[in-house]
């Protein structure tokens, strides 16, 4: 906290000498759950939120020293654990001819697939934001990278672990029973365990390739029942994971593959996701492009959430269409369905986005849980189909 105060005290002083940029967004989100709740305590109907994410970026020395500061706050009307703040970024990055060094809090994304972000591991998921695992908590790190003709090598030292966020007992889109605030760790160092990752990435012609090794506290917890049996305790294990992401880009085809091998809780398992994205350009002589996506996910981990972190995409097919209208408002529509091959439980997602004027954007997001079987992981979500509307003003 003292560092934060210092940062703000020094900010206006250095801002003059540096190239400064303030941007970000403020907005509101409204979600409507179409069915009444499945469990006691859960609310019905509307859930309203306010969002704020200012972004301060400074750079000096022709961009060779960069500073980023991005706090995030959500105030939620229905779920006190969805009301939360996070430091998405707060770092200093130095860029040299042969290497670059980043110290502070940052977000790093790895992967190529659209339905399942399997290899992405540096940041913890901010699950109360959305269940698609694309919102991430800022991760403290020291990151040293070298970019050479033979590719990019990146070393991550991750000194502080971030716990996953979960909805409260009152919230929708939660497990049953809900996840308590108490957590357990395999390591006695708990949150202070220092994790490491080393990643190599490069591209050769039509091929883009990434390969990494991670050792430390796994971002995905297992879940144990608490003493009263009325809540779940998240347990974070020490894991070793090898991961790879590969994309082959040819013509209008993108062929994608992600795979991991992980040891966790004295078990070893592998998981993969693979598929393609094919784009039909300028359909019907219009400016619009239509993308067709097909992906298949497979996971060999133990199905008991007390033994291995629960996973939805264990044997699932994802089919989607993406329409980019290519107009001045950058209108976009994405509709996708994910179907479990065994029990046919399905999740349909519809997302649309459009800009209004030069500073406003509106996003529609809707998820429909269909044909959900009782004994499955998605059973606790079967009454949680919703339509969401997000209005953001960028500055």
């Amino acid at each position: 906290m003292r560092h934060l105060i210092l940062f703000f005290a020094v900010l206006p002083l250095v801002a003059d000498a540096y190239e400064t940029k303030l941007s970000g967004f403020i907005g509101g989100e409204l979600r409507y759950f179409v069915s009444d709740a499945q469990f006691e305590n859960q609310f019905n109907g509307l859930q309203a939120s306010l969002l704020l994410q200012p972004e301060v970026q400074l750079q000096a020395d022709k961009g060779n020293n960069q500073f980023s500061f991005i706090p995030f706050i959500r105030l939620d009307s229905r779920d006190d654990r969805r009301t939360h703040g996070d430091l998405r970024e707060a770092y200093w990055r130095h860029i040299d001819d042969q290497w670059e060094l980043l110290i502070g809090v940052n977000r790093v994304f790895w992967g190529v697939a659209e339905s399942n972000h399997l290899v992405d591991i540096i940041n913890q998921t901010d699950e109360v934001e959305d269940i698609d695992r694309e919102d991430k908590l800022g991760q403290p790190m020291i990151n040293l990278s070298a970019q050479q003709g033979w590719g990019k090598l990146s070393l991550f030292i991750l000194p502080w672990f971030r716990e996953r966020t979960f909805p409260s007992k009152d919230g929708r889109l939660r497990s049953q029973p809900s996840v308590e605030r108490d957590v357990m760790y395999e390591s006695t160092a708990e949150q202070g365990h220092v994790d490491f990752a080393l990643r190599y990435s490069h591209y050769l012609g039509d091929w883009d390739l990434g390969l990494y090794y991670f050792t430390g506290t796994g971002r995905e917890p297992r879940f144990l029942l608490n003493e009263s049996g009325a809540g779940l305790i998240a347990l974070y294990d020490q894991i070793d994971q090898l991961g790879s992401d590969i994309q082959f880009t040819h013509g209008a085809w993108l062929w994608k593959f992600e795979g991991i091998v992980r040891s966790q809780n004295e078990d070893e398992f592998s998981a993969t996701v693979g598929g393609f994205e094919y784009t039909l350009y300028q359909i019907n002589d219009s400016a619009a492009d239509l993308g067709v996506l097909l992906e298949y996910s497979h996971d060999t981990r133990d199905e008991d959430p007390a033994k291995a972190p629960p996973v939805i995409f264990d044997d699932d097919i994802f089919l989607a269409a993406r329409l980019a209208v290519n107009d001045t408002q950058d209108s976009m529509l994405l509709a996708g369905i994910s179907i479990d091959r065994n029990d046919h439980s399905s999740v349909l997602s519809i997302e649309a986005e459009r800009r209004f004027g030069s500073r406003w954007s509106v996003e529609l997001e809707s998820r429909w849980f269909m044909n959900i079987k009782e004994e499955t992981l998605l059973a606790s979500l079967k009454k949680d189909s919703y339509v969401g509307l997000k209005l953001l003003r960028y500055f």
Binding site: Q66, R93, R107, E134, S201, Q282, N326, Q329, S358
Partner: protein, 271 residues
Amino acid sequence: MKTILQHKLLNTLIISALLVTMSWTAAHAQTEEQRGFEISARSDRSDRGFGDSRVVLKMILRNAAGKETTRELVLRTLEIPDESLGDRSMIVFQRPADINGTALLSYAKILEPDDQWIYLPGLRRIKRISSVNKSGPFVGSEFAFEDLTASELNKYKYKFAGSEVCGQLQCDRVERYPQYKYSGYARQIVWIDQMAHQIRKIEFYDRRGDLLKTLLMDDYREYPGKIWRPHHFLMRNHQTGKSTELVYSDYEFNTGLKDKDFAKGALSRVR
């Protein structure tokens, strides 16, 4: 005898005349294509030797009713001296605010599709994208991606088509035919001035052969090293009535950009 001799002479004369005509025609035909290439090469090469550049540009999109939308972006270019390879470019969007930080990295190729990556700042994600869609509109504008990148000399076959006055200058008119795959054009007509050898106007004909768009380039400024750059582009689409204007700030050359600044990994840190 005399008649035969005369006859022979006449024959020789006719044959010689015929040969001269034929060779003149052949030479002339070759000249039109060669001349078209030479004019284009002189124009293209007059822009070479800049090393690297950085420029801020404003894109003003107008629909048929005249309603405007504006985009602002930074364009960095790294020159690759080898003419059989294309230049490298990095585009970073600054406005509208919701796409601030979105970046596009391109390694231009001559006849093959370019290598392209996009950086999506919302997800902090770098994505390799397909580049076969050269003829589609670039960010909703009247510029296709190929209009912005396809100035490489060897992307076309050329044909000289005459000279004429263009504004206050004298221009050569050159027809050029895209040789790269996935072009949206059957041909283009390019007006190149005879003074600074710069392109002043381009007409784009679609694959059906109809006039699709006209591009006017002006506000040329000369930078050290005899490097000319236009600072104003106006693209009019004749079939939709829409237009796009590009307004460039002053160029900065030799800003010290290197290969590493155009590496795929640089996308996440470019501002």
